[in-house]
Amino acid sequence: MSVLVAVPVLLPLGAAGLSMAFGRFADIQRWLGLLVLGVIVVDAAVLLHVADVHGPVVLHLGGWRAPVGIALVADRLAALLLLVSVIVMFSVLLYSIGQRITDYGRGTASTTFHPIYLVLCAGVSLAYLTGDLFNLFVAFEIMLASSYVLITRRTTANRVRAGMTYTIVSLSSSVLFLTLIGLVYAATGTVNLADLAERTDRLPPGPATALALLMVIVFGVKSAMVPLHFWLPDSYPNAPAPITAIFAALLTKVGIYAMIRTQILVFEREPSWPLMLVFALATMLVGALGALAQNDLNRLLSFLLVSHIGFMLFGLGVYDVAGLTGVILYIVHHITVQATLFLVSGLVTRYTGTVALSRMGGLAGISPLVAVLFAVPALSLAGVPPFSGFVAKLALLRSGIEVGTSWGYAVTAGAVLTSLLTLYAVARVWTRVFWGKRREPEGDPDHTDELVVGTGDTSRGMVYATGVLVGATVLVAVLAGPLSAVSERAAIDLLSGQAYRSAVLGGGSGG
């Protein structure tokens, strides 16, 4: 059974090599990618079921038991996020295959895209599953290295600039991460997360706080927490739609996951963490206000992404079962919704030939389907009932009120305000893009970059893929009951940490 934990990491890495070898056979590459991701979806679903019923599934790599060896751990939280992430990766792959076929024909292979995409998948899976701080660093590097390549493919001058910012900021945070690992090892003598949990208790409060804060900074950069968010709206919009979608959906969320995992598992803390609440408030408001000032559709969505990272920090700041349940629900909701919005933005720009909101208009008349595909995730992002965002936001707001401190009330009020600002931002997009005078498409400004295609051609693959994701966001709302139940159980696990520790360090339930 425990071998299932290795599948999401090893399978895509192996398949990436195979995909590279079949670089000239477009169809084989495409089917291979879809097949591998499909298998991982099934695998993640099984893992979630097993973890939920029997407790965390642990695999000790190479037969070396933790804390000496590296353990891969699939508990409820990791398995749930892995499942959602891989479903999104599958849909986005479908979209990009559709786009490739529409633009270049069925026969042309994009040699590098598929292998790198699979490596990205391996990195994301490893980040979710690893039970070791240094291995988490390796997972981040696998993920980021493939994202560097994806963001700078077909380099134009603008993309080099954006890619450079992205790469250097990520690398600096990686160096800080290495520093953190060195300090953690020097202080405690272990980098195994479960083992760390016991040893940090014995540290004097000074070094323990310093380590916790350094972790906040490292993962804050990766998850675009204000004031460490500046790189995100500058770099993400410069990549083609499917790539932006996958980055927006997964990379920041993996950062948040790492932040939650390390902070809660490793450090003892009383409920309500004022520092994180302050960061949450700043992130929500700066992101939402930034979004209002934008005229570029993709930049606007990127700022909204930053703003909604704040909601996840909010739940972490509340630091009790209700808050963490809210965060987990919110991450699940946000992964699907944000990916969908960027894919829809890709569809929109194909009709308009521009990303400038001021030069769009009347798209609802040209393509009602795209309008519907936009409306559902947009309303969901704003948290309008009955969509998925509402369920997650309600859980967060209630936990915020229950904190009962002035910071708790302030952040809750900030969250409500941010939701309204989000609604205003997406309503502005709606009126500018879908209503108003119908404008002629501007054609394809630049064939060489895939940023704005503007040919007006969309294939069924792209629309279906977006449709699948829209369906997934609706499904998150429909399944809100069972999802909240699982999230709550995951949150209880997370806070007690007992199941995780005993599964990794004790006998282990794998086998």
Partner: protein, 141 residues
């Protein structure tokens, strides 16, 4: 907790300071060197995390347990060196590509900064409305 001797602490501080100083420069080449120097600093720190004293090779039967150096930080440092090395090559390639496309290796200002500066200079001479219209078209790059 492991302690570090003074020399190593000073060397580490120097490496980090130089690295971050270079990182804040305008020239891409210096930024890149900054990342390299920072990477060295981090790797040295990882090494020191195992203790400042040089020990004997960590092989069972060859040296007594008490004299062995800790193999764990060395394994981590080795992995980290490979990763930083690979990413440095990627950055070099990207910097070269940027140099070919742009003809210089200056890091440019943020898009938003440039917009605001342009708006400011226009506000000084023209009416507000016109400047705002400019800003809208500017935002589309």
């Amino acid at each position: 907790m492991t302690t570090v001797n003074l020399t190593m602490a000073v060397v580490l501080g120097g490496l980090y300071a130089a690295g971050f100083y270079l990182l804040l420069q305008r020239s891409l080449m210096r930024v890149l060197l900054g990342i390299v120097v920072l990477g060295h600093g981090a790797n040295l720190l990882l090494q020191l995390a195992g203790g400042a004293r040089a020990g004997r090779p960590p092989m069972l039967g060859e040296s007594p347990l008490s004299e062995m150096s800790d193999p764990f930080p060395q394994a981590m440092a080795l992995t980290a060196i490979v990763i930083t090395f690979a990413l440095t090559t990627f950055l070099l390639a990207l910097a070269y590509r940027g140099w070919v496309l742009l003809g210089h290796d200056e890091v440019q200002d943020d898009v938003e900064d440039r917009r605001i500066r342009r708006l400011e200079s226009r506000l000084a001479e023209e009416s507000v409305e016109e400047a705002e219209r400019e800003l809208e078209s500017e935002a589309t790059r």
